[in-house]
């Protein structure tokens, strides 16, 4: 076959065979190849241009967001005044019961430079890295709720895995019921976040809020994750299939906040 092809076509056929072979090899062993350093180089190269490309979009969004935030600010100021009174009352009651007090997490604002993922974003590039005090394992949130956690830290940027990452798992609880489950993303049959491992006997109602339970040690307790949007029965009949509507809007991530996490995962 190769003998009947002109030289240029023979060369391109050999080239594509080489590429196909290399790709197959990478598909088989790619997960064992360290890729973080290559992504670090890519992130350093692209981050200044990401900012330029996104400047117009960010400006228009900031103008619209500003109007919305003014209204929200007034509403929250009123709510805050009421909560301060209740917090003081709560503090005094906890003192009487000898319970430890709550600790407010410190929030570090960072910009989202790029999204990764073909349709549903599964990772984001953040504008701060190791030099900006970001650490692997830091928790990424928005004002609405949990987004994910920092997976890789580069000198000036970092990369965070979102809840929509196929490898992500978050220990959660349904608010005020104590029902526990594990939040996972499933791409099939429809991309969705689901609360798994919830026994069939546990009562969960559509609309209830889902928060982090703090049982996985990766995330502190009480961060909003989303709301129960539908409940179904698992084919096995032992657990429920609960779909969660995420609190954070993954399609509109522009700025996020970092909360200091427990640190990097121990290497296996």
């Amino acid at each position: 076959m190769a003998g009947v092809l002109p030289p240029a076509e023979r060369r391109s056929s050999a080239l594509v065979a080489l590429y196909a072979g290399l790709s197959f090899f990478l598909l088989m062993v790619g997960d064992r190849i360290p890729q973080a350093s290559l992504r670090s180089i890519g992130s350093t190269l692209f981050s200044p241009l990401d900012r330029v490309v996104l400047a117009g979009d960010r400006l228009a969004a900031a103008w619209l967001e500003n109007q919305e935030l003014h209204t929200r600010l007034v509403r929250l100021e009123l709510e805050n005044a009421r909560l301060r009174v209740q917090a003081e009352e709560n503090r005094r009651l906890r003192e009487q019961l000898d319970l430890p007090g709550f600790r407010d997490p410190s929030l570090k604002p960072v910009e989202v430079l790029a999204l990764s993922g073909d349709r549903i974003p599964s990772a984001i590039t953040l504008s701060a890295g190791g030099h900006g005090g970001v650490h692997e394992g830091d928790i990424v949130v928005t004002s609405e709720g949990l987004v994910g956690r920092v997976a890789e830290v580069y000198p000036f940027t970092s990369r965070a895995s979102l809840l929509t990452d196929p490898n992500s798992a978050v220990a959660c609880e349904v608010e005020s019921t104590g029902v526990l489950g594990i939040l996972r993303f499933t791409a099939s049959p429809k991309p969705a976040l689901g609360l798994t491992a919830v026994p069939f006997a546990d009562t969960v109602v559509v609309g209830q809020r889902v928060l982090t339970s703090g049982l996985s040690r990766r995330y502190p307790r009480g961060i909003p994750v989303g709301r129960v949007s539908s409940i179904g029965k698992d084919p096995g009949g032992l657990v429920q299939t609960i779909t969660i509507e995420p609190a954070a809007r993954f399609t509109r991530l522009r700025h996020v906040f970092l909360i200091a996490g427990p640190g990097p995962e121990p290497r296996r």
């Binding site: 391109s12 080239l15 594509v16 790619g30 890519g42 990401d50 999204l115 599964s122 099939s188």
Partner: protein
């Protein structure tokens, strides 16, 4: 040397757009498959060797960015670039309808190939079909428009390209 420079600039631009402006649109359901679009463009312009090389390198960059299934885009796009390059010798490359059809087929093939890795079974076929059709039509329209402008600006494809 100029060809390599142009290919690298093209790759850089495509990857930049993919992770910024187009990522937001993709998350809302409108997928412009710029990886397939750029590979088809390079295959048409430079032939099979250029198409395969461009597809492989840009695919590898996209795989690294995705952090899962390294080699997935590289394999699909290098084959796509090669096939488009081979076809470019027999097709009327400067016809808008040919380019549109080629882009629709190329995007559908690339989308179907890359989605297959994300899904666990065949239950999701309505979602996959919708995603492939929307992506193919959106990319076909965008790509044919871009190629028409490029032809007008830089001249027809027949005038450029050097086989490797």
């Amino acid at each position: 040397m100029r060809g390599i420079g142009a290919a690298l600039t093209g790759m850089f631009t495509v990857l930049l757009l993919r992770s910024t402006l187009l990522a937001g649109l993709a998350a809302r359901g409108i997928v412009f498959d710029v990886l397939a679009l750029a590979t088809v463009f390079w295959g048409l312009r430079g032939g099979a060797g250029w198409g395969a090389s461009f597809g492989f390198v840009i695919g590898l960059c996209a795989d690294l960015d995705a952090a899962h299934w390294l080699g997935r885009h590289a394999l699909g796009l290098s084959l796509l670039g090669y096939l488009v390059g081979r076809l470019s010798g027999t097709l009327v490359r400067d016809s808008v309808s040919t380019q549109f059809l080629l882009l629709v087929l190329a995007t559908a093939a690339h989308q179907a190939w890359s989605i297959a890795f994300e899904l666990g079974g065949f239950l999701a076929w309505p979602e996959v079909l919708l995603r492939v059709v929307v992506g193919a039509i959106a990319t076909g329209i965008l790509g044919a428009t871009v190629l028409a402008f490029t032809n007008r600006w830089k001249g027809p494809f027949a005038a450029s390209g050097k086989a490797i």
